[in-house]
């Protein structure tokens, strides 16, 4: 059997909800998060940050800070100009498209473009003292007009973020299949909406932290990152260091949600300072720093048009997107919105699709990947639009979905944009959802509740998402244009006594790889998962890997583990066959033993085989190399496409606008389960994240570019008290893309959740005239929407159906508004 055929499974560890190997140290307070690390002689860094959104720096006086008794050194951007070989890179270079890319250095040089931009760094022995001294750095700013509203930024005469570009438009990128314009012109019915997907934060509870430790002529960087290998690759370029001189370690990482899928200026800065000063240098961000200068997500204004026949068959979807990218780029900033394109059109067979994206500079921090990254935006708008269309045509939201689902027998299904959905059964997950949710009973209950003044609504989201990043040639330099690849590595090493160590290039931060990957390896090695130690997050321990994000770890990284373990299994069979005097093809792994097919009494355990592989007996032929270790580099042939059906039931207090979610049912299909407990946990957390965006969370900058949501006081994460108990169920449709048949589940809940909430709210408030609302559905905004729909308080009359132009980007009561951007909407 070759490594590409179906592997032999051993004891059936895969599929078991075994508890996590990761947990004992974590529940005992023995986690190795970066800020917990103590290296002798460490200098603490405090960063002086800009209070201005846009200004020229006319002078920096560091004298008072330098004289502070606890301070070792103070550096400005100019001071360190020679210490960096290159700026923070942005890695998307789409063929044929120019992206205006400003130089982005770890410390500002001559000007600042957003609140919080790093201007100087103060180093000393004591973390309190360096914070004091940082306040004594006097920076003179000459303020310039701040650009805040991305649509106004595209208007002629707008102040510019970057004078040298002559425009605030970063780039345009589009993709189309079929003829959406013609289909829209020919349609029975056209529904158009302006949908704002507002700016959010990743907000892991562990703030970012980095320690750079100089070692000889090299540096070890301990950093709270999702991408240690990519970080080393990028840092070697930024610092002009040979890659072998940099070791990056991601120890325990306290959540990422995309915010740590990044190489930040502070990481490069710590390495530069450690080299310069010859001492370990440590920086841990405050929560305020996180809100201001860890990248944000979303921030998109979409002008969406759906065309359909009178009986509800969607014939075209067109989107024009204005994406607020902030002032500088991080590694993927301009690409994130576009990353949603593979699932434009959702789980529906829509023959004509056209998408046009425009990026815009504003005086804010960069947006980049936050849980879902482009797919929540696409999913939100198509799922919201299906409900809007259903209302327009007076068709039930369940029925309109059924009429448009990609038929189960059509997989693999190629979308008009040339994307091939690997496998699916969208009716199946919806059927299962409706087993849990009796819609007829709900409608009766809803009517009764309305009699009693309770405004209850139900919203559906039948999502499909794309993950398993990624087939390298499809997304690489000659494909979509990322200057990267997305295969994954795994090394499986069986020790002489039969236990094993797995090294994965994925880099978990809460997902449970130590457990799930051990289950995969254990089955293929014929040992117990407790005998499999899974290592990750250290560039010195194993081969290059691309890290953890985009729900890729299992379907790419886990698959690599499976393939490497199968190679080991193959070698183990050859050793076993030689010692049992059988043919290798007659050896099978069953009940944890390698045995001769048909003669179960002739068998060896992995421990016996491993012993023989390391200390070869005379009977072992010399053409079998000693050792029992294999590596796999797996590059997937396609993406994978998890899907499912979620329902949200919520109540709206129309007096206060407060929304309370009273029920959540989630049916997800991410292929066969490796560990169903981990899947459930990901769904819970993912949905909570989506609910957070839908109801509470929003990054807000005021008209001067000041961040007004700089702490957890203003940026409201949901607490236990706000969230319902999630009812979860699953369907398992294997993916043909990989041997495990798996998809991904880390982002599915987040991608699914937000439209279900909005659809439920509209369902609750439609009798009051509210026909659409943008997120976040905060009490004030909901109350305003109700008032506007009722024509009260000087709001628009009810005939406007509660729609109101969202004049303040992402703020205020909002509605569908006009269906074309003021300028530059991708035309």
């Amino acid at each position: 059997m070759s490594a590409t055929e179906k592997p032999t499974a051993g004891q059936g560890w895969v599929g078991q909800a075994i508890r996590r190997k990761e947990d004992p140290p974590l529940v005992k307070g023995q986690g190795t998060y970066v800020d917990n690390m103590r290296l002798p002689g460490t200098l603490h860094a405090a960063i002086v940050r800009s209070p201005e959104a846009h200004a020229a720096i006319t002078g920096i006086d560091v004298s008072a800070a330098t004289e502070h008794p606890s301070v070792t050194a103070v550096f400005t951007g100019e001071d360190l100009a020679e210490d960096f070989a290159g700026p923070i890179p942005m890695v998307w270079d789409p063929p044929g498209v120019e992206i205006k890319t400003p130089e982005h250095w770890p410390l500002a040089r001559g000007e600042v473009k957003h609140v919080g931009q790093a201007v100087a760094v103060v180093l000393g022995n004591d973390r309190y003292a360096v914070a004091d001294a940082a306040e004594q750095v006097i920076v003179d700013y000459e303020p310039k007009p701040a650009v805040v509203n991305p649509e106004k930024a595209l208007e002629d005469g707008s102040p510019l973020v970057w004078d040298q570009f002559g425009t605030n438009k970063t780039h345009e990128w589009g993709i189309a299949g079929g003829d959406a314009e013609q289909a829209i012109a020919d349609a029975d019915v056209v529904v158009e909406r302006r949908i704002v997907n507002h700016r959010t934060a990743g907000a892991p509870i562990e703030p970012r932290s980095s320690i750079a430790d100089p070692r000889g002529d090299g540096v070890t960087l301990y950093s709270s990152t999702q991408i240690p290998h990519i970080a080393r690759f990028i840092l070697s370029g930024m610092l002009g260091m040979s890659e072998d001189k940099i070791r990056v370690v991601a120890p325990d990482v306290g959540g990422g949600f995309g915010a740590k899928l990044q190489v930040y200026g502070e990481e490069a800065l710590m390495v530069a300072l450690a080299r310069k000063l010859g001492r370990p240098v440590k920086w841990t961000e405050t929560r305020s720093e996180h809100m201001a200068t860890s990248h944000h997500g979303r921030d998109q204004i979409a002008y969406v048009t759906i065309a359909a026949t009178r009986d509800g068959k969607v014939t075209a979807a067109r989107g024009r997107f204005v994406n607020d990218l902030g002032a500088y780029f991080q590694i993927l900033t301009p690409f994130i919105a576009e990353l949603g394109f593979p699932v434009a059109g959702g789980c529906y067979a829509i023959p004509n699709i056209k998408l046009d994206f425009v990026g815009v500079f504003t005086n804010k921090f960069a947006t980049d990947a936050v849980r879902g990254a482009g797919r929540p935006e696409q999913t939100h708008l198509i799922e919201v639009m299906m409900d809007q269309l259903a209302a327009e045509l007076d068709i039930d939201p369940v029925e309109i979905r059924r009429r448009n689902f990609v038929p189960t027998e059509s997989f693999p299904y190629e979308t008009p944009l040339g994307i091939v959905y690997d496998s699916g059964n969208y009716h199946g997950t919806l059927d299962k959802l409706l087993e849990h949710v009796d819609m007829d009973a709900f409608r009766r209950e809803q009517a009764e509740q309305r009699e009693r003044g309770v405004h209850r609504g139900i919203g559906l989201s039948t999502y499909v998402e794309v993950c398993g990043l990624a087939p390298s040639r499809a997304v690489g330099p000659q494909g979509v244009g990322l200057q990267a690849a997305f295969w994954e590595s795994a090394m499986v090493r069986v020790h002489p006594s039969g236990s094993a160590t797995v090294y994965t290039g994925a880099s978990p931060h809460g997902q449970g790889h130590d457990t799930g990957f051990a289950q995969i390896a254990a089955d293929r090695l014929g040992i117990d998962p407790q005998q499999v130690d899974v290592l990750h997050g250290d560039t010195d321990q194993g081969p290059f890997g691309w890290g953890t994000y985009g729900s890729r770890s299992l379907s790419v990284g886990g698959e690599a583990v499976g393939r490497a373990a199968v190679k080991v299994q193959e070698k183990a069979k050859r050793v076993c066959a030689a010692l049992l005097e059988a043919a290798p093809e007659d050896i099978e792994l069953a009940d944890g033993k390698f045995q001769v097919r048909g003669s179960p009494d002739k068998s060896m355990t992995m421990a016996e085989i491993a012993g023989a592989a390391h200390i070869p007996p005379q009977e072992l032929p010399t053409d079998i190399e000693p050792g029992l270790e294999e590596t796999s580099f797996y590059d997937p042939e396609n993406f994978v496409f998890p899907f499912g059906a979620h329902a949200c039931v919520l109540d709206v207090d129309v007096e206060t606008g407060k929304v309370e979610i009273v029920r959540w049912v989630a049916v997800d299909d991410c292929g066969p389960a490796i560990n169903p407990m981990l899947i459930e946990g990901q769904v819970h957390g993912g949905v909570a994240h989506g609910i957070g965006q839908a109801l509470y969370e929003q990054i807000v900058y005021d008209d001067e570019g000041q961040l007004t949501t700089g702490t957890f006081v203003d940026y409201a994460l949901p607490t236990a008290a706000e969230l319902p108990e999630f009812e979860t169920d699953r369907q398992e449709t294997p993916s043909p893309v990989n041997q495990l048949g798996v998809k991904g589940v880390g982002e599915a809940g987040t991608i699914a959740a937000s439209p279900a909430v909005v659809n439920a709210l509209v369902d609750a408030l439609r009798p009051l005239g509210v026909t659409y609302m943008d997120m976040p559905l905060t009490p004030m905004r909901v109350w305003q929407a109700i008032q506007a729909a009722q024509g009260a308080n000087g709001g628009p009359p009810a005939t406007e159906q509660g729609r109101e132009v969202d004049s303040e980007h992402g703020r205020g009561a909002s509605g569908s508004g006009p269906a074309s951007p003021t300028e530059g909407g991708g035309a």
Binding site: R19, L26, M677, T719
Partner: protein
């Protein structure tokens, strides 16, 4: 800044005596002076609860207390929860019920939950959710945390029965 204050405090049963800056936060005293890094910092505004410890038996957010305010008090941190080499029932329940993912909020969550169960040994789900309102978790959606706290409450019941 030159002035220091004498701090006498019992931490996890052990008497400690230190000279500290009067402005030193309790969480930094525990982490930086005593090396008890299981107590985490997740925000600066007392919202996230990652820094929750017990002071004289009550849950407090140690980022909001000066170390000198704990003078003379008994402080318990996550490191003091296990006894006789056995995990505290809450630690075991969080493990058993997948009440953690990244684990960063977990020590604070366990300390807050222990305080909750001390005050209300048989909480309803609703009471657990409200009791843990001051502790943020970004990973779990809280459901398995609620389940773990309920399981630990049940385990206490079983022991005391």
């Amino acid at each position: 800044m030159e002035s220091t204050a004498r701090l006498r405090v019992t931490v996890n049963g052990e008497a400690r005596e230190s000279d500290v800056e009067p402005r030193l936060l309790l969480v930094h005293y525990l982490r930086d002076h005593l090396g008890l890094t299981g107590t985490h910092v997740g925000c600066d505004t007392s919202n996230c609860g990652a820094c929750t410890v017990h002071v004289d038996g009550e849950a407090v957010k140690s980022c909001t207390l000066l170390a000198v305010q704990a003078d003379g008090a008994a402080v318990k941190t996550i490191e003091g929860m296990a006894s006789d080499g056995k995990m505290h029932p809450l630690q075991d329940a969080f493990w058993e019920h997948h009440g953690l993912q990244c684990g960063y909020c977990t020590p604070g969550m366990i300390m807050a939950a222990a305080d909750l169960l001390e005050r209300n040994p048989n909480p309803s789900d609703e009471e657990v959710r409200h009791g843990l309102e001051g502790n943020l978790c970004r990973c779990t959606g809280y459901q398995n945390i609620v389940k773990a706290v309920q399981a630990a409450a049940g385990a206490r019941e079983a022991v005391s029965a």
